[in-house]
């Protein structure tokens, strides 16, 4: 039994509770948060791959109980999972490790930039980290749902904890939509429980693929549950029709919070996408539905971003659009395309964190995010301007950055899968993203500085420059050596789905 696997969830929860307890002692929570943020990626790094069965309840194999329903005994289901199972694979390791690095950099920047740290904010950050780690580790649908709801509450809390205008309105809107999306997801899980007798993803996948897929009636019920789970997934990921509220959520948070929020959304998206792919890949419309939703997200994301004059909202919309590429990889349905999609997910997490932190420094200096009111900021910090520009290039897919590698793989996969029109759309979206960035960066850094532009701070904190530099280096390394992540992803996918 590898006890480091559950520790990835238990440790941040415990740390969050401890930070909340010492909420009023500024120095204590700063030291505590810093230590926790360092330990989190280390746990992921040193944990060995394998399964963890909660309560020590291993799968029931060859039991002599004859009372099990026939739809279980008549299938190829050689084992049944009676308890929550966590599965730690190279794929989950890569995602959780990158998430923990982003959490560390954001928390480090926050602690060094703010004189008085907010215990509530740090509590939410670590609770969120635990929730998304649990979602991607879990092989249990209901466990995923519980952490899905915790993640939704955490995201709302991070927005409430920010000082942005209209943050309460955005939080309420998100919660109301979540109160529809969450129950729909639960309803989908319940239907699966009713027809399979289990909430374990492996068990459900085996029962669906060996028995339920053969009968038209049970196939229709599976399809209905897929539709409900898809609705919950759209809400959690910020895909249309939830793209507007998700973008608002990112833009109404502090830059440190936004960089973590987007990573949380991405991990939720990936966790549920993998779970859905494992359970429903034999359903004919699965790939088509994911493909259509992803293309709509890409088009809407970039077209909404073009219209923004607030750069935080612009990045928020772009990041939602970029998530479409991840879905595209799964929608194409080949192992190569899924690897490309997941690689794009990792890149998206790093690049968007870079941009939120990097452009957050503009808000730190000027207290505005309106591009029309900004200009000439390259004189304040050339290094930051260059790193943000490189981040923009990485997101748009300019070589030699990571975004180029993953987008190239997705376009290649689309051509191999016989979807040249999808490849053309992906190229056009990348060009549009590049255009949006050039326009925004010109407005912020290169155009003459307006006379009425006032500065709240004189310089950008060195910790923020350090964090953005680390993320830029990560973009470059993954661009030059993509096999660092594509090989483990591909190996893990082979065992999961194909």
């Amino acid at each position: 039994m590898n006890y480091l696997i559950p520790l990835m969830v238990i440790f941040p929860i415990f740390a969050a509770l401890l930070i909340n307890l010492f909420g009023k002692h500024n120095k204590t929570i700063k030291i505590l948060s810093f230590i926790v943020a360092i330990i989190l990626p280390l746990i992921t790094l040193f944990a060995s791959y394998g399964l963890h069965f909660f309560g020590g309840h291993k799968p029931l194999i060859d039991t002599n109980i004859t009372g099990l329903p026939t739809y279980i005994t008549s299938t190829n289901l050689y084992s049944m999972h009676p308890a929550i199972t966590y599965s730690f694979t190279p794929l989950t390791k890569v995602f959780i490790f990158i998430m923990c690095i982003i959490v560390f950099l954001s928390v480090f920047s926050y602690l060094t930039s703010e004189k008085k740290a907010s215990g509530s904010f740090l509590f939410l950050v670590f609770m969120g980290t635990a929730a998304v780690s649990a979602m991607i580790l879990s092989d249990d649908l209901f466990n995923m749902y519980v952490f899905f709801e915790i993640a939704a509450l955490v995201q709302t809390g991070i927005v409430i904890a920010s000082k942005a205008e209209d943050n309460y309105e955005t939080a309420l809107k998100y919660m109301i939509l979540g109160s529809i999306g969450g129950p729909m997801l639960l309803l989908g899980i319940t239907i699966l429980l009713a027809i399979t007798g289990s909430v374990n993803i492996t068990d459900i996948a085996i029962i669906i693929s060996t028995v339920l897929i053969k009968s038209p009636i049970s196939k229709a019920v599976v399809l209905f549950s897929f539709a409900l789970i898809l609705f919950g997934w759209l809400y959690a990921s910020g895909f249309p029709p939830f793209h507007v509220i998700k973008s608002s959520l990112y833009s109404k948070s502090e830059s440190y919070g936004s960089s973590i929020l987007q990573a949380m959304s991405l991990l939720t998206l990936v966790a549920f996408l993998i779970a859905m792919a494992r359970m429903f890949y034999l359903i004919n419309i699965f790939n088509g539905a994911i493909l259509i939703v992803s293309i709509i997200a890409m088009i809407l994301g970039v077209s909404m971003a073009v219209m923004q004059t607030d750069f935080r909202r612009m990045i928020a919309y772009l990041s939602v659009g970029e998530l479409g590429f991840v879905g595209l990889g799964f929608g194409l349905g080949t192992k190569f395309s899924m690897t490309a999609g997941l690689f794009q997910g990792i890149n998206e997490m790093i690049v968007t964190a870079l941009l939120f932190l990097g452009l957050g420094s503009v808000v730190y200096l000027t207290n505005t995010s309106n591009i029309r009111k900004l200009g000439g900021l390259i004189s304040k910090s050339e290094s930051m301007a260059i790193m943000v520009l490189l981040g923009g290039f990485a997101m748009a897919g300019v070589p030699p950055f990571n975004g180029f590698r993953s987008k190239f793989m997705i376009i290649h996969a689309a051509l191999l899968a016989g979807y040249p029109e999808v490849a053309v759309i992906a190229i056009l979206i990348s060009i549009a993203t590049f255009f949006v960035f050039v326009k925004a960066l010109h407005g912020i850094y290169l155009k003459p500085q307006p006379n009425d532009l006032e500065f709240v701070h004189d310089s950008i904190p060195k910790s923020v420059i350090f964090s953005v530099a680390v993320l830029t280096i990560m973009c470059l390394i993954l661009g030059l050596y993509p096999e660092i992540v594509t090989v483990p992803i591909s190996q893990a996918l082979g065992g999961l789905i194909i």
């Binding site: 509450l153 209209d166 309105e169 955005t170 939080a171 309420l172 529809i180 319940t190 004059t309 009111k373």
Partner: protein, 128 residues
Amino acid sequence: MMISTQLLCLFAAGALIIIGLFAAIFIDNIIKKVVGLSFIEEGVNLFIICLTYKEGGIVPILAPGMNVNWFAQNAAYPLPQALVLTSIVIGASTLAVILALTMFLYKKYGSLSAHEILNNKYDMGDEE
């Protein structure tokens, strides 16, 4: 023809979900919206419970000396009951956050109209 308890509960759950969805989408008053959201949640909980309802089933506690096979055939399935308990707790926390936000926004706007509070905030970024 007598309708079974399970079917009746399923209809009730479906009705609760549909009424809740209608209230959450079409009613302007935030408190009424919240009541609608609560209906959806309770509908789903009822749905979970009644899906695995077992006519004449026994409590799923394996007593000493009980035949395992007989128990497996007659005991009610305990998993949905455990799931519903968790779901109720999640629902209560979500509801508490929504109501706290509603109270704050009521103090700010002096209104409970979702149209006044929420719908005038989507723009292209020119907020200042």
